[in-house]
Amino acid sequence: MFNLIRNEWEKILKKKSTFVMIGLLILAIIALSGILKYVDNNDESTGDEWQADIQQQIETDRENMEEYGGRQLGTYYQRNLAINEYRLEHEISPSVESNVWTLVDEAKMLTSFIGLFTIVVAAGIVAGEFSTGTIKLLLIRPMSRTKILLSKYLTVILFSLLLLAIVYGLSSIIGVILYGFPPDDAVHLAYQNGEVVERSQGLQLIITYLLYSIDILMLTTMAFMISAVFRNSSLAIGLSMFLLFVGNTVANLLAMQFDWAKYLLFLNTDLTVYFDGMPTIEGMTLTFSIIMLTLYFLIFHALAFFFFKRRDVAA
């Protein structure tokens, strides 16, 4: 099994496209750091009157909530209000100077890049072998098809972890170079179960990164499943990308109208709402979402393995 993963890993890393992906990711991190540093230098509004600013914000939020406070926006204002009131009460200024965590936090938006790249790899890792015909020489070995497919899946997961580590690691390093180490009192205010809690920023970021990866994990697993079932990488890439970009929006639109939308994959992938915010549909809980995710995960794998094991190879 170890050898199989090693084989798959070697096949991926020796591809030119992999180098392009990693190169693009590194470029993106560097560009992001540059832009942030530039914006930061031009921004000198951190004054002493932050209490007044926040007071102002609280009032507008209250008005807005009364006027537009529907199902979703209502919870949004509720969260802002709670956090701002907490700030006033405990004298926590919102604009702590930029530090290394600011950059790492901003870099989390690169996880959608990672999602994109991992989907491409997941879509190609099975279907690609069928289109080149190399699958034949792979399957005539004393290894079960289950093991071969599993090794491919694990390799995809390893690949996404590598990309995540590159983003987290490189942005931390650049952050420390640009801003130095963070001040000790930097805290993150999170809104959890209707209460405001303080968290260390480093910890908050690791949680955020992991929670963001759930999205990637699910879509990657889906792309992998399509790749194994239909043996067609374009289909796998196309469908998964489409869902990556519009899935969330569509699911959220449905959620405004229908209660059953809570069973949709995309309304459950964003677990951050349970740690810092409010669920899209009232009554959804962390447990519910985890159960739904596990179900989807198992269904994807059941399909992938069933078809990969059974079907004749006539490539």
């Binding site: 096949k11 034949k136 399957l139 005539i140 004393p142 079960s144």
Partner: protein
């Protein structure tokens, strides 16, 4: 003699079409066994079932005592195969490709890989990427890939496909070496009859998924009587006598006759004594090709 591979009433349908129909045969140790048939006969399909790429519709295939249905991993351990073209990872070098496959067996050393590379004469190009390889080099790499783990049975689907005469000859020599020296059994498929005749000990003729006949090549050469063609001057009065004694049949500028070697010598002497000129004596061997066409009726 031990049986290395046996097919036992194997059938396969795709959709409603019966592609393989009740095929039974067996291959012995050290034997080169040919699967011969026109395009679409089902040779590749049969081979795919042997190596587990396709499921059996009915029947069973046993390799070195293990059924591919019940004990695939053990059965396939003894097999090295090329199915249709030997497709390799284009972005890896020949050597890296071999390392990939070697990791899927226990105990293949670096030394072993080098030895095989030497055997198939690919040493010069082994560190180039496969996408730069010519078809012949790919075939060699394909052969290297199936020899890595010292298999007992080689299964090669059209191994000479696209090779020039020198390449074909080389494959033939490899097979000879492997069967004589290493006691391997080999299954080759082809629709090139003349080539099969030179390579194989036995040949199964397949048509539309059915086994038509199994021919032993050695038998053919032991045949006692052969057909000869004589081109002569006018036989004149001698004709009647020759007909009675030798049962000749007139043909072209002369006649044909079924006879043993010694009889031919006698006949030549007799004709010369009767003052008949002999311009040509030719042995007409019925090639496998003719038999094949005869049998398959095309």
């Amino acid at each position: 003699m031990t049986t290395v591979l046996s097919l036992d009433h194997v059938s396969k349908s795709i959709g409603k079409k019966r592609i393989i129909d009740d095929l039974s045969l067996s291959v012995q140790e050290g034997e080169v066994f040919g699967l011969l048939g026109p395009n679409g006969a089902g040779k590749t399909t049969t081979i795919r079932m042997m190596v587990g790429l396709m499921r059996l519709g009915a029947g069973d295939i046993v390799i070195c005592g293990d059924s591919v249905k019940d004990n695939f991993e053990r059965a396939i351990k003894h097999v090295g195969a090329i199915v249709e073209n030997p497709e390799m990872y284009q972005h890896l070098t020949g050597y890296q490709n071999l390392v990939q496959y070697s990791r899927m067996y226990k105990g293949i050393t670096k030394q072993k890989i080098d030895e095989i590379v030497e055997l198939v004469k690919l040493k010069k190009n082994i560190d180039q990427k496969v996408k730069t390889y010519s078809l012949g080099m790919r075939q060699r790499l394909g052969l290297a890939q199936c020899l890595l783990h010292d298999p007992k049975l080689l299964i090669l689907d059209e191994p000479t496909n696209g090779l020039d005469p020198a390449g074909i000859r080389e494959i033939r020599d490899h097979l000879k070496y492997l069967t004589r020296e290493k006691k391997l059994s080999v299954i080759v498929s082809s629709h090139l009859l003349s080539e099969m005749e030179m390579m194989c000990d036995r040949i199964a003729i397949i048509q539309q998924g059915k086994l038509i006949d199994v021919q032993t090549i050695a038998d053919q050469q032991l045949e006692e009587k052969s057909t000869y063609y004589f081109e002569t001057s006018d036989l004149g009065k001698k004709l009647l006598q020759l007909r009675e004694k030798w049962m000749i049949a007139l043909k072209g500028e002369g006649f044909i006759i079924d006879a043993e070697k010694e009889e031919v010598a006698k006949l030549i002497k007799e004709l010369t004594e009767a003052d008949i000129s002999i311009y040509l004596v030719q042995k007409l061997t019925k090639t496998l090709e003719e038999r094949f066409l005869e049998i398959t009726g095309s």
